[in-house]
Each structure stands twice: as C-alpha cells, then as structure tokens.
Amino acid sequence: MQSELTLTREPIDEAAWLARRAMAREMGAAVCFSGVVRGTEGGEAIAAIEYEACERMARHQIELLFQRMEERWPVQSVRMAHRLGRVGAGETALWVEVIAPHRQEAFAACQFIIDEMKRAVPIWKKPLAVSKPPTFCL
C-alpha cells in the first residue's frame, strides 16, 4: 500500500492533491473526505480553529493507523493532509483519500482512518470565537 501524509500550516490545495491521483487498473473506488471548519462551535459563531499537534508523535500514530488499515482492507493507497495552526471557518482542516478495488472497502477504510484519527492522534483544537477568549475543546 502506498501512503502519503502531510501536516501543514498552509491551506490544503485539494485540486492539486486530486490532480496527482494515480489509480491502478484494478482499482475501482476512490473515496475522498474533506473535513471543513464549521462557522459555529457549541452554538457560538467562531472565526477559526487553532490546531495544535505533538507533531512527531502524530506522524507516528497516523503511520500506525495506515498499517492497521492495510491489514484490514485491500487498499492501494491512502493520502492525508491535516492543517495545523489557525484554520479559518469554511477552510479544509483534514483531507483524506482512499483508493481500493471496490466502494465497500474504500468507504470502510476511509471511515476507519477518520474515526481513529480523533481517538489516537495527538492533535487538539481550540475554537477562536469572534467575541470570547479561546479555550481548548475537551
């Protein structure tokens, strides 16, 4: 399985990621997920979310998740980009693409990686409200 991981403080250029997609002839499903910063948090309007990571550990834990995914599904490739730092409302904070032979395993593997990201990868977010001092989500 091929994998690519980027943790970046720059905007995620989804068109550029899509343009670099390479599918083997045996592959029939490409599932993409874009996690976008909502303009509200807990009913309050927010301007952005500040993402913080323990970066080296985050990279290591994501690679472990990729390995677990490969053990469960016949995935050809997984590519992931996660923003760090300030991400404005409406901007993409997480982009994931999974390529597999069939849609069932592509959807399942993509769902798995996103769910496990939230559980195991040391990344935190702090909503930046328009009018209140920021506090971390817990």
């Binding site: 913080e52 990571a53 080296r56 550990m57 834990q61 996660h82 997480l94 996103i114 935190w124 989500c137």
Partner: protein, 94 residues
C-alpha cells in the same frame, strides 16, 4: 523524543523531560518540565508527582493519556533515564 532512554542520570535518580500540550500546557503554565525520580519509577508515580507540582492539572486527571517517546503507555510503564514523557489531553484531530 525517540528512541527511549539514553540520558545521563545522577546516581540514584532517573531524569526525564515532560512535555505538556494544549489545555494541559495552559493548566501547567509551561510547555516543558524536567523531573527526577528514583530508578524503577513508573508513569503512574510520575503523574502523582506532576499533580502535586502542577495542581491545576488535576482538572484533567480522568482524561489525560501519557506517551513515552512516540507511543502511548499505561500507568505501570517503568520510566528510563532520558525518556521524553508527553502529557496528552483528549485528542480531537480531523
């Protein structure tokens, strides 16, 4: 941060760097601290010492996870001299 251990300890103690993140950093009031403990000390004992040194951290007592190096560890993980210990509030990636 990796591999584990490799520090130069004083006789009778092991020393580790402790890193705080996100809400944990705010409650501790610092991003890093150095702790020394007797050889054979474990993560649970280190946490007890940290809660005494940084009492506001108790707010996260039930939800904190601990990593040594790059991997999560349980409370009975024995710490080695030179380890880097990360104190991690609940994660929220994505």
């Amino acid at each position: 941060m990796f591999p584990r251990g490799g520090g130069s300890c004083r006789v009778g103690t092991v020393q580790f760097r402790v890193c705080f993140f996100a809400r944990g950093r705010e409650l501790a009031g610092c991003a890093e601290a150095v702790e020394s403990m007797p050889p054979g000390s474990c993560v649970k004992e280190l946490l007890g010492k940290l809660f005494r040194r940084f009492p506001r951290l108790v707010e996260l007592r039930k939800s904190l996870r601990v990593a040594v190096g790059l991997d999560y560890q349980s409370g009975d993980c024995v710490l080695r001299d030179g380890d880097e210990v990360s104190i991690l509030p609940p994660t929220q990636g994505g």
